[in-house]
Symmetry: C2
Subunit: 433 residues, 2 copies
């Protein structure tokens, strides 16, 4: 490797600008740690004249990012445009083909095209680094790829979206509803103006797909996985959960079950005293179970320019150290497809909330329906609202196959005494805590 390494950064939003400032400021430090001089040769973004915290010179600006990926002087290309397709994909593909190392924070891109891009990086003998794509400031990808590399991982459970975790935490502490907290979060910069993917679970799903393929050395799954978001969580569910000793968290889980892979994202009732039940606010966390190391935990800030830049910098150092390796631990051709576990066959305890008319026979019609579907009840709470002549019935079931729950709820939706569709949230097992 040459002694001076030329870098191009494409995408100069909050994160891009922060990262450019960091590498400019920390040039000397990088030299002392790696013996390499770095130079930010080119930058590019959609809009040249936008106000930014990073000032570039005229010479540094190139308007066509594809030209940059072909420029013979460039050694490392940093893609911070975002989006699974479009320009981001074009830039990264072209850079790898032109034998440039690539650093990206783009989880959507890696989750969708990671298999193809990894193959391209391997073929061209360059690094494809994406530490900042999952849990920003927690070096979880590096940890799985390097620190825990010799371990056989069975399961990973994570809180991988700071925005949704902040919202759930604030709903509990303030008693306000989701929309109120969401606008509060936007004001404080804890949620982006378009928080759809944070709320509906798709952001976590991308991260889980990436982490799965690292944990189990498999190809990134192209299948649809079980994804439920937090959009329908009501403050009363959070309060009920608390009464029963639980807290509601949006978990991303991937595990090996009966030699199949079971990836899922859903709100989960977790023990309020458990470790994962106490990751509040904008923090991210992951619990990994593996052999021989046992349980390991990582926790840190999962978003924001600072933490994201920390992840990008660790990728840069990795490249500068000559730490060439397969993007997904093993060579592309050794990564296997693995059967998908059918979530309908998963047995778990669940939380059900029925809003009903407060009249005789309603409870019995619900419990009869549960019994007919072989769903047994662990705990039951009835909270009447005498004025309105309605009641909430909250049930925690014993472990039950998901398909039974679905069948049962389909039947119950037709029950005239229900004044709205039942709420159903999965309860985590001990391994999820």
């Amino acid at each position: 490797m040459k002694n001076t390494i030329n870098i191009a950064v494409i995408g100069l939003g909050n994160i891009g600008s922060y990262f450019c400032r960091e590498i400019t400021k920390k040039k000397k430090d990088i030299y002392f740690k790696t013996g390499k001089k770095i130079k930010l040769l080119f930058v590019s973004a959609r809009n040249k004249n936008k106000k930014r915290s990073f000032k570039f010179s005229k010479k540094q600006w190139l308007s066509n990012p594809i030209d940059i990926t072909k420029n013979p002087s460039i050694d490392i290309l940093v893609e911070l445009v975002g989006g699974s397709d479009g320009i981001a994909k074009k830039i990264v593909t072209s850079a790898l083909k032109n034998k440039k190392h690539v650093i990206t924070a783009n989880k959507a891109l890696i989750a969708k095209h990671g298999n193809f891009l990894a193959q391209l990086a391997e073929k061209n003998k360059v690094n494809l680094e994406y530490e900042a794509s999952v849990a920003a400031g927690i070096p979880i990808i590096r940890n799985i790829k390097e620190g825990l590399i010799s371990n056989k991982i069975f399961k990973l459970v994570g809180i991988l979206n700071g925005t949704s975790n902040y919202i759930l935490s604030r709903m509990e502490t303030t008693g306000k509803n989701l929309n109120e907290i969401l606008s509060e979060a936007k004001t404080h910069g804890y949620a982006e103006s378009n928080a759809k993917s944070d709320l509906d679970g798709t952001d976590v799903a991308s991260k889980i797909k990436i982490l799965s393929s690292l944990c189990f050395k498999t190809l990134i799954s192209e299948n649809n996985i079980l994804v439920n978001g937090i959009e329908n969580i009501e403050t009363k569910d959070i309060i009920n959960a608390k009464k029963l000793g639980y807290r509601i968290k949006l978990l991303g889980i991937t595990e090996i079950k009966k030699k199949s892979i079971f990836e899922r994202v859903h709100p989960t009732l977790v023990d309020a005293n458990s470790y994962i039940g106490n990751i509040n606010g904008v923090f991210n966390a992951a619990i990994i179970n593996s052999n021989p190391v046992g349980q390991s935990i990582m926790q840190g800030e999962g978003a924001g320019p600072g933490p994201t830049s920390s992840g990008l910098m660790s990728d840069l150092y990795s490249i500068l150290r000559g730490n060439i390796k397969y993007p997904f631990i093993t060579a592309h051709k050794m990564r296997k497809k693995i059967k998908i576990f059918n979530h309908l066959n998963y047995a778990f305890s669940c939380y059900l909330r029925f809003e009903v008319l407060d009249k005789p026979g309603v409870l019995s019609s619900i419990t009869r329906q549960l019994a007919e579907n072989k769903i047994s009840i662990k705990r039951l709470l009835q909270i009447p609202d005498k004025k309105k002549k309605i009641a909430s019935i909250i049930i925690i079931t014993h472990n039950t196959l998901e398909k039974r729950i679905i069948k049962c709820l389909d039947k119950l939706r037709k029950n005239d005494s229900l004044i709205k569709s039942p709420t159903f949230i999965r309860v985590g097992d001990n391994n999820d805590n």
Copy 2:
């Protein structure tokens, strides 16, 4: 780097045997991840004929470990003998001089001779890897050196000794005293037959010295640091702490205070609801505060052949990937000495327990002495034992300079009403949780 890498392992205790089994078993896996074939060429230990879980062939055994370090076929030497000096130091020194990469789990060696050995490794352009020397299964060294490499670290707080943490946890749950739990721990394999360095804090002190120098890019300090162990913790202190909302943990702490380094190991009263207050049993954990990443946490099993071997394997992979780097992040000549913070000038809250004769005027003589030393009281508990006509007086002070506490306790030791020397345990501040 050649395609077949020859390894020698010296020291075949529980950990050495486990590691040899792992690399033999995982040869294929290593090849798939790195493209390198490994061969366990030689092993050596004090006693050839001891019963071991790993079976070596006649050809693999060499009785003189120094010969192995000079053998031109060997690429990587793994030192698992232990001890800061003697044969371990000789082997590692000779191996580095002969341009062999070295992997060691020997914290005492690194804490004492790490500066010298790092210089030697750099000079000979080989790796000196020691992930397993601190917190075994938690890849904390790799995390600081690689994952968090661009961050400015201010403070690290850790539970870094599984044996002492197990003992303190069991004392709380069983109410038994330290010696009873210690022998129980030995029976269950959670404590070695000689647990002195686990109990007196010196094991944690070695780890803190290593971590400090990584966190702050300084030379490993050769000074004596503040080290108190758990030998004198009584079950009644644990019970009192619980009454007051605390739990007692043996913490290793290193931080930058007034541009000086403040390294210390001591039992600490931490908030029972805090994260660190809930690391129980044989787990290790570390909280790192840095910029820009903020707070990051790692947790995992801190001892045993499996977790230790996981650390050793991550070192092996690092070498096989050609991840050559400075052993302490920056080049030896860039690592600076840093001033030592005088712990006598540290202000903290503290827990004091006085065992006194239950007669008039005793409490007032104690509180007067505290007042004279400008130590103010935050909480006070008096627990009389009417039968014996004695009492325990427990005091939590406001923040107080350590030198005042020492002076005050010196005076109080002369108080005739005290039936034994006072107990004094530091209380952690919010940043320690």
